[in-house]
């Protein structure tokens, strides 16, 4: 593939403090990292080491206190909200650690929401794409269930399908298989790796599962706000 090995995401010397005054914690202490298209990266490390914090920064959901973030060659760490929002829509698919669906909406609607914003597909095409994404995470028969009528694992799979909706070049997933049984975590992981290879997407996932980590192209162990 043409984009394979192109740099999709790069960050350099990221710092992030959380909390205020006395409770202020230096969570990220100069993290540098790069991800290429078509590769799957696993970030592993003990709870509280700053994995989610890093992922929020990379997903442009939060601003770093120091350091640079580049998405597809464009410096994003200092750009304004409009540019960051547009980049999120087009280039980034994010799976939250606690999945976060819009619970009053159906699985189908949830998956279609990013597509609606991007506005590249017709209504018909959006429905079809949402259906096929939900089928590929094993939820083809539950597309019309509301978020509240889905189990935790099912919600997580809808969230994965949603992150893939706009074919982003970068997929950031915070423990996408954390709630899933062996069969479904295999399903989701296989889907993510297949897409990375087929579409030339960079997949960065946080996982506590050593088997999953072992099957990624790269594993980056993290400890206390730094890559080991």
């Amino acid at each position: 593939m043409a984009f394979t090995n192109e740099l999709a995401l790069r960050c350099d010397g990221l710092h992030r403090y959380l909390g205020q005054d006395d409770a202020r914690v230096h969570v990220l202490k100069g993290v540098s990292f790069a991800a290429r298209r078509g590769e799957v990266y696993a970030i592993v490390g003990p709870s509280g080491c700053g994995k989610s914090t890093l992922l929020y920064l990379l997903g442009l959901l939060d601003r770093p206190d120091g350091g640079e973030i580049e998405i597809n060659g464009q410096l994003m760490s200092t750009s304004d909200d409009a540019a960051r929002t547009a980049a999120r829509c087009e280039h980034i698919g994010f799976v939250f650690q606690f999945h976060f669906l819009m619970l009053e909406f159906s699985a189908l609607d949830n998956v279609m929401m990013p597509m609606r914003k991007l506005g590249r597909l017709s209504q018909q095409e959006m429905v079809e794409r949402a259906h096929s994404l939900l089928s590929s995470v094993g939820l083809g028969d539950k597309t019309h269930r509301l978020g509240t009528q889905l189990s935790g694992g099912e919600q997580q799979r809808v969230a994965v399908a949603r992150a893939l909706a706009n074919q982003p070049s970068i997929i950031l997933a915070d423990e996408p298989t954390g709630n899933l049984d062996v069969k479904n975590s295999g399903l989701v992981f296989d889907l993510l790796t297949r897409l990375a290879k087929e579409n030339g997407q960079a997949v960065i996932l946080v996982t506590h599962n050593p088997e999953i980590a072992a099957r990624c192209d790269f594993t980056r162990p993290m400890r206390d706000g730094l890559f080991a």
Binding site: L18, G59, D62, T85, E90, F100, M113, K117, R162
Partner: protein, 395 residues
């Protein structure tokens, strides 16, 4: 959602109801008074007095100066005045009235009163006299040269009913009349004082072969009476008194009432607005997680504001419609409330006013409040970094 909806409904409904109930009496009073004494009276001829002053210094320079106004009682040439009045586009009718003090002699009792000599057809165009008849018929009066229309209170005092006869005494002469019909305006001062007779009869009774006391004028647009009066005064050289000036004391009483009710309405509106603000802010707060999700997918701040505006629009639309219905129904309910009043007007029940503007004002106010109450919290929520919301550190 339900909470802010009920706030809107309540706010709009209350707004309409308070407006309807507070302006009702005033409007009814104005209607009564206009229906009785017309929008304007042209009376008393103006006499310009020119004073000539010789400027000092021995020059022949003369200064003419208007020095106040002098009046000559009554209208000497009613026909001329009425014709001239018809040239004013706002005038819908003008009727001559000859007024004089009389003594009413009935079998048991005498009462002093005012005889109003009217030209019936003209007078019906400048008053609601035709609709104020409570006993008998105007047609009877039309046919009886010596007929009279007597006020309800006066007729009761003299124990007269339709068909009874009585004597009017004025200028030392006595003439016999028949009660053709009895009217009731509700205005006590009128109902106990006025006896309407035909103008020609009044002329002989009051010994006034020409001229009238005043010309009663009715207008298409009553609110323009003061301006019209000024113009008429200029053109006709007669004093013209608009109803606003004539009924000044009552109108200022009503104005005071209106101000006090405006304060009540504003307090209501403020409370409803605060409640709405609270609930809409709460809705936004509940939705901050959804806002973070939408923002993480690339929805812009503007999109978020729009979603909440859209929601507010729905609340507003439903709230306004229901509120107007609630307002109209409660107004209707209040209008059936028994509340007998007579003296300045006559009513058996609470007087309400039906005015589309009340509804327009209520909806406009509600729209303003809902929009403010939803835009501000939504904008504030949309400004947060999604990461902060997700992590729970949003402030």
């Amino acid at each position: 959602m339900l909470m802010s909806l009920s706030c809107t409904v309540l706010g709009v409904g209350l707004f309409v109801l308070t407006q309807a109930t507070t302006s009702g009496f005033e409007e009814f009073f104005i209607k009564t008074i206009l229906g009785t004494d017309g929008a304007m009276r042209v009376e008393d001829k103006i006499q310009d007095t020119l004073r000539q002053m010789t400027a000092g210094g021995g020059s022949d320079f003369q200064i003419s100066q208007r020095q106040g106004l002098k009046y000559i009682e009554g209208v000497e040439e009613p026909k001329l005045i009425i014709n001239a009045l018809k040239d004013f586009s706002n005038v819908s009718g003008a009727a001559p009235v000859l007024r004089g003090s009389v003594l009413v002699r009935a079998d048991f009792k005498n009462e002093s009163a005012q005889a109003f000599g009217i030209s019936l057809e003209d007078h019906l165009k400048v008053s609601d006299l035709g609709r104020q008849i409570v006993q008998g018929d105007v047609a009877t009066f039309r046919e009886q040269p010596a007929g009279a229309l007597m006020g309800r209170v006066l007729a009761d005092r003299l124990q007269l009913s339709t068909g009874s006869t009585f004597i009017l005494e004025a200028q030392g002469q006595r003439l016999r009349y028949t009660v053709s019909a009895i009217y009731e305006t509700g205005v006590a001062d009128i109902d106990k004082m006025r006896v309407y007779i035909h103008l020609s009869e009044a002329r002989s009774l009051l010994k006034k072969p020409s001229g009238v006391s005043f010309v009663q004028v009715n207008l298409f647009e009553k609110d323009r009476a003061p301006q019209n009066a000024l113009q008429m005064q200029e053109v006709l050289k007669h004093s013209a008194k608009p109803w606003q000036e004539r009924e000044k004391s009552w109108l200022s009483t009503f104005r005071a009432l209106r101000i006090s009710s405006a304060i009540t309405v504003s307090v209501f509106t403020l409370i409803a607005g605060l409640a709405m603000f609270n609930t809409l802010a709460m809705i936004v707060l509940e939705k901050t997680k959804d806002i973070a999700i939408l923002r993480s997918m690339g929805y812009e701040r503007r999109d978020i504001t729009q979603i909440f505006l859209w929601q507010a629009g729905i609340v507003l639309t439903i709230g306004a419609v229901l509120g107007c219905i609630v307002g109209a129904l409660s107004t209707l309910g209040v209008s059936y409330m028994p509340l007998p009043i007579s003296g300045i007007f006559k009513t058996e029940t609470f007087v309400v006013s039906w005015n589309a503007w009340h509804y327009v004002e209520a909806i406009t106010t509600a729209a303003l409040m809902v929009m403010i109450a939803s835009v501000i919290p939504a904008r504030r929520a949309a400004r947060l970094e999604p990461g902060d919301i997700v992590r729970g550190t949003a402030q």
